[in-house]
Each structure stands twice: as structure tokens, then as C-alpha cells.
């Protein structure tokens, strides 16, 4: 059974069509919802939470209609909204206690203490939310979403405002909560390189439609990685020998980094050719790797296919 099931959903704001017949199924696990700004990610989630009303289409969240039964759905869902709207006049701990009461948790104080520790917000729990830095607020927002360990946690841009250490901690936390408590996550983010660490499924939204959806493995297979970066010594010589290969569709030399960017049709054939060249001309290859992260590559290919532009 899907947690979130959307079919042919439409939503417009005046003349702007935000959702254009979106189809999306979210099951248990960690799902990434990715897409450019204005693609319709947040609109989809707002409709799922009963904050917006769809113009037409079918939507079920935990088997219920969000617009009419939203209060029952939200018992099972924790949310971190983009921009982290929190009451600035409240002290962190007091606010989270209110949230614990809203969620009707049996031991609110204990739940707050536990979640503050989990997100690393203990040291500023006595400060007013209005006094916190953006990164600290983000942690409070996360604490709010995780409080009571709901079945599904929706995180809208959770990595925004966090420093690299904070991002890594959050991703570790998502992994451990999914593994140990069986919690599911729906993560909306632009930071694809880090998102791919935790996501086992992804859906790509573009211009109000889901253009690709499935497990990351399936998507990687479907949208084959074709752009690679080669770090080499003697990049000019490598460029000279690689450019005429049949398997190479495009090649570009970045002399400042000593790096070659190649677009290829077949990775195995290309690897064989590179190996031959290295042996034949006694050239040294430092690394051969996909130019972009896996999710980013999938995203670029999927969006490129739809928009007809090379991304």
C-alpha cells in the first residue's frame, strides 16, 4: 500500500499552472522528491497536507482525502516546512512541549528531551527561537518534525542552512531512524549529491509533472550515466587520443584543472579504450568517474529528455 497516492492532479494559481496532471506514489522507505524551483514539489506536499485544495485529480494520503480528513493524516506525519516558520517569541523547549501536546504524546517532556538530543539542539534549548541562527532554527524545525517519531516525515529542503557537518549528521540520523525505527521519509531537496546517500527511491518533478520515478537503481539504469570526468597527467595528449574514438560523443578539455570531460555512448567500451591508450602511450590516468553525482546525473538526463535541452 502506498502512503501517498496521487493521480492526475492539477493545481493552478491564477494563470500559473503549478501542477499539470501529476502522478506520484510514495511508499515506505526514504524517497527523494527532486526538481527545479517552481516545479511543483512544495505545492504537491501542501495538497497532501490539506493546506491547498487541488483543482482536480485524485489524492490519497494514508488512504484518506487530505482536504477533508487532514487532521487524521497529520497524526502520522511530521513536517518540516521550507523556510522553517516557527514562533519566534517562544523558547525552543517550550515550543517543542507545545508540539508534543499537539501530537498528544504520552510523555511530552521525555519526548522533547530525546528529540532535542537527537537533532543536536540541547545546547540552545533555553533560547528564544527568534535569537537563533538559521542553522539552529533548522534543527528546531527538524525536532518538531521528528517529535513522537511519526510514521512518515516530510522534510522540505532539510539540508538548507546546515553546515557540512550538520548535513552529514542529519543524513546519518535519517538513515538510522529509517533503519532502527522503520520511519519513512519524503525529502524535497536541491542538494542531490548528499540526498543520494539516503534515498532508495526518487521522483523527479518538472513543470508540474513527475517525469521519472522509481528506485535510484532503476533510474540509474534507465538514465544511463554518460558524462564522465577524467583526471589525468598530460591532458593535451589524452585529449588528442580520445577525441577520435568512436565511443566518444563529445569531449572538452579543462586545462586549468588538468581534467577532461567526455560524453560517451558505452562505458565498458570506453574503459577498454582508455586502458589501451594508457598502455600504448605510457600515459597516466588519475581517476575516471561520473561527472555528476548519480541523482544529479539522472535528474539532468530526465529533465534534458523532457525539455529537449542539453542540461
Amino acid at each position: 500500500m502506498y502512503l501517498l497516492n496521487i493521480r492526475d492532479l492539477y493545481k493552478s494559481f491564477g494563470r500559473i499552472r503549478a501542477l499539470n496532471g501529476i502522478n506520484l506514489q510514495v511508499g515506505r522507505g526514504v524517497t527523494g522528491l527532486i526538481g527545479p524551483n517552481g516545479a511543483g514539489k512544495t505545492t504537491t506536499i501542501k495538497i497532501a497536507l490539506g493546506l491547498l485544495k487541488a483543482d482536480k485529480g485524485f489524492i490519497e494520503f494514508f488512504g484518506l482525502n487530505p482536504w477533508t480528513m487532514g487532521h487524521r493524516i497529520k497524526k502520522k506525519v511530521g513536517v518540516l516546512h521550507e523556510g522553517v516558520p516557527l514562533p519566534e517569541y517562544l523558547v525552543v523547549e517550550d515550543y517543542l512541549k507545545y508540539v508534543a501536546f499537539f501530537r498528544e504524546l504520552k510523555e511530552p517532556k521525555e519526548a522533547v528531551r530525546e528529540v532535542l538530543k537527537l537533532v543536536g539542539a540541547e545546547r540552545f534549548k533555553h533560547r528564544r527561537i527568534g535569537e537563533l541562527s538559521a542553522g539552529m532554527r533548522q534543527r528546531v524545525g527538524l525536532a518538531q518534525a521528528l517529535l513522537g517519531f511519526p510514521e512518515l516525515v516530510i522534510l522540505d529542503e532539510p539540508l538548507a542552512y546546515l553546515d557540512p557537518g550538520g548535513r552529514s549528521e542529519l543524513l546519518d540520523l535519517i538513515e538510522s531512524l529509517h533503519r532502527d525505527r522503520g520511519m519513512s521519509f519524503l525529502i524535497l531537496s536541491h542538494i542531490l549529491a548528499e540526498l543520494e546517500r539516503v534515498c532508495d527511491r526518487a521522483a523527479i518533478i518538472f513543470r508540474g509533472k513527475v517525469i521519472a520515478e522509481g528506485s535510484v537503481r532503476e533510474l540509474a539504469k534507465k538514465y544511463q550515466v554518460t558524462e564522465y570526468a577524467l583526471d589525468v597527467f598530460n591532458p593535451d595528449l589524452w585529449f588528442k587520443y580520445l577525441k577520435d574514438l568512436e565511443v566518444v560523443e563529445d569531449i572538452r578539455l579543462d586545462t586549468s584543472k588538468g581534467r577532461l570531460y567526455v560524453k560517451i555512448s558505452d562505458i565498458r567500451a570506453f574503459e577498454r579504450e582508455v586502458h589501451k591508450i594508457a598502455l600504448k602511450y605510457d600515459l597516466y590516468l588519475i581517476s575516471l568517474r561520473p561527472r555528476y553525482g548519480l541523482l544529479e546525473q539522472i535528474y539532468r538526463k530526465a529533465v534534458g529528455d523532457v525539455s529537449g535541452e542539453a542540461q
Binding site: K46, L49, G50, L51, L52, K53, G70, H71, R72, K74, K75, V77, V79, H81, G83, P85, L86, P87, Y89, L90, D94, Y98, V99, F101, F102, R103, E104
Partner: protein, 248 residues
Amino acid sequence: MLVGKLSSLVRFELSRLLRFPVLEVIVVLAVFNSFTAYMSFYLMGTYTDKTGGSFIYLIVLDGLRRTFYAMINYLFISFIYATLTSSIAHAISSGLMKNLLSFPYRRSEVFIVESSVTFMVPFIIYLTAHLLPFPFFYPYPVQIGFGWLKWFLTVFLSFLYIFSICLTISLAFKTPIPSFISSVSILYAMSFITAGLRRNPLVNFIPPYCFINSILGHAHVYHLIPSSLLAIALIAICYIYFTRWLEL
């Protein structure tokens, strides 16, 4: 369970509203009301004894009591309601309402709690500020009777009217500053318009004249029927809008 959940929402809303300097407002209003009560009961008596009560009482004291006391109270209450309801508009524009509605509450529960708390806080403040100085300046034993009940009801209905206008405007604008400016402008403008109509016998039925009269204890409850019906209609519209149409 539901009561516990709603009571935590009430406390949460109170924490939002009580950021405003409530104690200071009570003190200022109480001092002001004490001053006017002192004018009414002591100075009025003194002048009445010495002069036969006529000229100074009519022109200065009664004038002061009417315009200064009732108008200032009206403007003050309008200002407070405009401020508090614009904080609802602020909650909508800043995303706080979106966040609140992401918790397991029905929209109707949120609306009822938000509007009741926003309405009741100034009303209780006013009652406190108004009644607190009474025992100090009123020279006779206070009888709790029908007169007080009538005064209470008329003040309640008058407050409901002001609140309904401010609430409607705040939900219409959904942003705090335009909401505040519009509420204050409309309520203040209405007070000036009705001041110009004061010789018309129907003026008693027109807010805010009936409001001012109700504070002075001159209004009959039936004077407040049109404005109360309007208030109930506006609140009902706000309820339907909030629960069925408001998109965040």
C-alpha cells in the same frame, strides 16, 4: 483527550497574544477609567452642590465623560483588536498558520480557538480595567443586578462587532500591516461618520454610536441587534472561508 489537545492550543494562542503589553494596557485603561470615574462621582457632585449642577456639569463634565471616556475607549479597543487580529494575518503570511495546520487539528478547531482567544483577551482586559477602579471611586455599595447584566451584554455585543470587522479584514488581507491600517481606518472613520449623524434617531442603531452608548450604559440591548447580526454574519463568513477556502 480532545479537551487536553484544545487546551494546549489555547495556551499556545495565549502565548502569542500575551506578547502584547497586556498588563500595561490594563494599567493605562484603569488609570484612565479611574480618572473619568473620579470626575463623574466627585467633581460632578461638588459642582452640582455648589452651582445647582447645570452649566459646568453639562458642558465640561458630561462632555468629558461622553466624548473623552467613551470615544477614547472605543478608539482604544478598536486599536487593540486591530493589532491582535493583524497578528492572525501575520501568522498566515509568515507561514506560522501553515505550520500550525500541519499538526493534527481540524481547521474548525484552529479557527474557533484562534478567534475565541483573540476576542476574549481584550474583552477580559477591558472588564478588568473598567471594574478594577470602581470600588475605589464609586461611593455607594455596588449592587450586581439587571443593570450590570445589561451593561455587560451590551459591551460584549459591541466588542463582538469591532472584533468581527477586524477579523474579516485580517483574513481578507492576510498580511499584517494592510490589515491593521484598514481595520483602524474603517473603525475610526465610522466613528466620525456617526458623530455627524448623532441627531438622527436611528443613529442609536448604528455602530459605533451604539457601542459608545453601551459603554456609557445608555444603550438598550435592542440597539445592538443590527450590529450584532452583522457581527455574527461576518464571523460565520470568516469561519466558512477559513475552514473551506483558505489556502496556505
